[in-house]
């Protein structure tokens, strides 16, 4: 099986579907001739033409609106928003239109639009190239929200997303495009080729939406994470030598509540991790959900390890980014009790 980094895996997902279905096209800023600022659409312009790897003006709201209209007219657009930080100009179109089309028309209309967007920090991108806005989208009914943590999942989930007849917001943690990141920025990163999840089939396969993955089974505490934080959490668990069960959510909505409940009911403890700011982040929903489904099993307060409630900083990136240390502290706090 070929080794792919996450960029190549995403590219391959789009390529495979464009090959199979002329209704699939990719569109966004710099995605055509140039192949995307992160190169995720490289080669698609040459292979499928300017109208299927479609460069677009810098108007995220216009791009999403256009994709909605295309989706209504039988196409299956895959939109790239250059950075998740720039998804807000499209917010109204996503929330008021894309998400509600099917429902408000009594099922008459819908638009199978996938919105891909690189998110998250750890790349010295400052406050406008580092945000993690996923939580907000999980509050909008009618959207599915996905965030993969490795190339294999990225390709399989993106194929599922594009083929899904509902709109999907597909967040790509850019910090791990080229290789996993354990939170230690002093260490040289390893490419995905060195990891089993970097082995990605060339052809068509799916990873289903709505199913979490148990990355590491364990019995003492359940760790819920997604995207880059899966790797930071895994390293923290390793470093601290804790028998934690690490769950990679993969899809935030619909959430795999069964896998989560089963785990927490077993371990009785839970730590929730994300890069996004804390207050009203997706971690809040996870805590609420877990305490509802597992209250009688809980042996300690559920802990949240998150970004702080500040704009994403430039100079203090590593003080902001949830570190192994903060994760270990949180795990240990939950373990202290009995």
């Amino acid at each position: 099986m070929p080794a792919m980094n996450m960029i190549q895996a995403l590219n391959s997902a789009m390529d495979v579907l464009m090959e199979r279905d002329p209704a699939v096209l990719v569109m966004g800023e710099d995605v055509g001739y140039f192949g995307g600022v992160f190169r995720c659409t490289e080669g698609l312009y040459e292979k499928y033409g300017a109208h299927r790897a479609l460069d677009m003006p810098i108007a995220e709201g216009g791009i999403v609106a256009t994709a909605i209209g295309m989706g209504v007219n039988g196409l299956r657009p895959v939109v790239e928003i250059q950075f998740a930080d720039y998804i807000y100009p499209a917010f109204d179109q996503i929330v008021s239109e894309l998400a509600r089309l099917r429902h408000r028309s009594g099922g008459e209309y819908s638009a199978p639009v996938t919105i891909r967007t690189p998110c998250g920090g750890g790349i010295r991108g400052g406050q406008t190239h580092s945000q993690s806005p996923e939580g907000v989208f999980t509050h909008v009914c009618g959207l599915k929200t996905v965030m993969p943590s490795n190339p294999y999942d990225a390709k399989g989930l993106l194929i599922s997303a594009i083929e899904d007849d509902d709109p999907v917001i597909f967040f790509e943690p850019k910090r791990i495009y080229n290789g996993p990141f354990d939170g230690d920025h002093h260490k040289a990163g390893q490419p995905w080729a060195n990891y089993p999840q970097g082995e990605v089939p060339e052809g068509y396969y799916k990873v289903p939406l709505g199913k979490a993955a148990v990355v590491r089974p364990g019995s003492d505490v359940t760790i819920l994470a997604y995207g880059t934080m899966v790797h930071v959490a895994a390293a923290a668990i390793e470093t601290a030598g804790i028998d934690a069960e690490l769950i990679d959510l993969r899809t935030l909505l619909p959430l795999d509540t069964e896998t989560i409940a089963e785990s927490v009911q077993k371990t009785g403890r839970c730590v929730v991790i994300h890069e996004a700011t804390r207050t009203s982040g997706f971690g809040a929903e996870l805590v609420a959900e877990v305490q509802e489904s597992c209250f009688w099993h809980l042996k300690a307060p559920i802990e949240r390890v998150t970004g702080w409630d500040t704009p994403y900083p430039h100079a203090f990136e590593w003080e902001y980014f949830p570190s192994q240390e903060r994760i270990i502290d949180a795990i240990q706090r939950t373990l202290e009790t009995d």
């Binding site: 003006p57 609106a65 295309m70 989706g71 196409l75 408000r104 028309s105 008459e108 007849d165 619909p254």
Partner: protein, 413 residues
């Protein structure tokens, strides 16, 4: 709090005003109305620059004597003209009935298009059935032309058990896929840019269908309009972008949206023809729409059409315009009533008379009454029956995910 609290600022900020307000006489003196037939009709493949004058003129075909004049005369047959008149009369009869039903508490809300009937009716007639309509909430006429049963429209407005959109939206927020009529959004403007994407997909698939979208004068300020102009122009989308300038956006006069020129003038900045047309002139509206549709189908791209008209009724049943505009303004509107004008034309050419007119009106009135009586049998918002409550949880997604199934169970439905 650190603001300067000294007074003594002498504001120089310009704030637009209305041409009239309550207790002022209506003032349409600034409206420059060219004679019918005065505007030239360019070829449908004319370069945008060559159409510039049309953005500042006003395409008119029907003159004050009911005669059709000039290049823009679409040369419709008497049958077509009678059909148009009947559709407009039907729209008005429907509006009257529904407005009354709202006042009697049978509907939660209603919006009339009185005085603007020619816009939707003539435009729909000038388009083909495969063309896709992205209406705002004041183009009910489109549905009449496309042949939607009045009963279905009423059932929607009643949110009853036969509402095709399952009671999910306010009255008048129709959706009718069979008729290529898009689901209306309560959010202003959002659909005009979507219509451009639809048109681009039509071109992408090599098809000949065009899209048509409508926004009001007030909505011309919305970002989505700019996206529509921008993207339509960039990709030469086969799209008709229609601005229904009915002079008012609730209480706000068009001076707040029009920025001192015409709406049609905005098109030139995007290399796109912008055409201002007498929106109360059925023939002119038909002709301009036909021109733009032909142009789009030929691959010459989008057109912005400003339909110059007047909102005779209140904004909606929640609104009282007496609080913000002169009572006589509608009566003073110099472009007349679209129904009267088409009627006069048909009479002038010997194809219609008052008796026929009265008969159609009576027939339509009866039809609306009959439909209403039938519709209300299927229920109403306050009394039901509605769709089963469980329908609320459907169509959020194509297949209901676990958390919604659970919520539905929690509600016990």
């Amino acid at each position: 709090m650190t603001s300067p609290t000294h007074a003594g600022w002498q504001s120089k900020l310009y704030v637009p005003v209305a041409s009239s307000r309550p207790d002022q006489p209506a003032d349409f003196s600034k409206l420059d109305i060219p004679a019918a037939g005065a505007c030239a009709r360019p070829a449908t493949d004319a370069a945008a620059e060559q159409t510039r004058d049309l953005a500042y003129g006003l395409v008119r075909v029907l003159d004050d004597n009911g005669q059709a004049c000039g290049d823009w005369n679409p040369q419709l047959s008497p049958d077509q003209l009678r059909q148009g008149l009947k559709h407009m009369l039907a729209v008005r009869a429907y509006d009257e009935r529904m407005f009354r039903m709202q006042r009697q508490g049978n509907l939660s809300f209603y919006m009339k298009c009185t005085g603007e009937e020619a816009v939707a009716v003539a435009q729909a007639m000038a388009l083909e059935s495969g063309d896709m309509l992205f209406p705002s909430y004041r183009q009910q006429g489109l549905l009449f032309v496309r042949g939607r049963p009045v009963l279905d429209m009423m059932c929607h407005c009643l949110s009853n058990s036969r509402d095709n959109i399952k009671g999910r939206q306010l009255p008048i927020m129709y959706s009718w896929k069979e008729g290529n009529f898009f689901t209306i959004s309560g959010n202003l403007g959002t659909q005009i840019s979507q219509s451009v994407g639809w048109a681009m997909a039509s071109a992408y698939k090599g098809e000949d269908h065009v899209s048509a979208a409508w926004v009001g004068d007030g909505t011309m300020a919305a970002a989505d309009v700019y996206h529509a102009l921008h993207f339509a122009s960039t990709y030469r989308a086969p799209a008709l972008l229609n601005v229904v300038n009915n002079q008012w956006a609730i209480s706000t006069p068009q001076s707040f949206a029009c920025t001192g020129t015409t709406f049609a003038a905005r098109a030139q900045g995007f290399s796109m023809p912008g055409i201002r047309v007498d929106g109360n002139d059925f023939l002119a509206v038909y002709a301009v729409t036909q021109w733009a549709a032909e142009r789009a189908r030929q691959g010459h791209g989008p057109t912005l059409i400003e339909l110059y008209t007047y909102r005779v009724a209140s904004h909606s049943t929640s609104d009282n315009p007496d609080a913000y505009r002169g009572k006589d303004e509608a009566a003073q509107w110099p472009l007349g009533d679209p129904l009267e004008r088409l009627k006069a034309h048909l009479i002038a050419i010997g194809e219609w008379d008052d008796a026929q007119h009265a008969a159609v009106e009576a027939e339509l009135k009866a039809e609306m009454t009959a439909n209403w009586k039938e519709a209300i049998k299927y229920g109403s918002l306050e009394e039901g029956p509605h769709w089963p409550v469980s329908a609320m949880f459907e169509d959020v997604f194509k297949e209901m995910p676990g958390h919604l199934r659970k919520q539905r169970q929690d509600l016990g439905v």
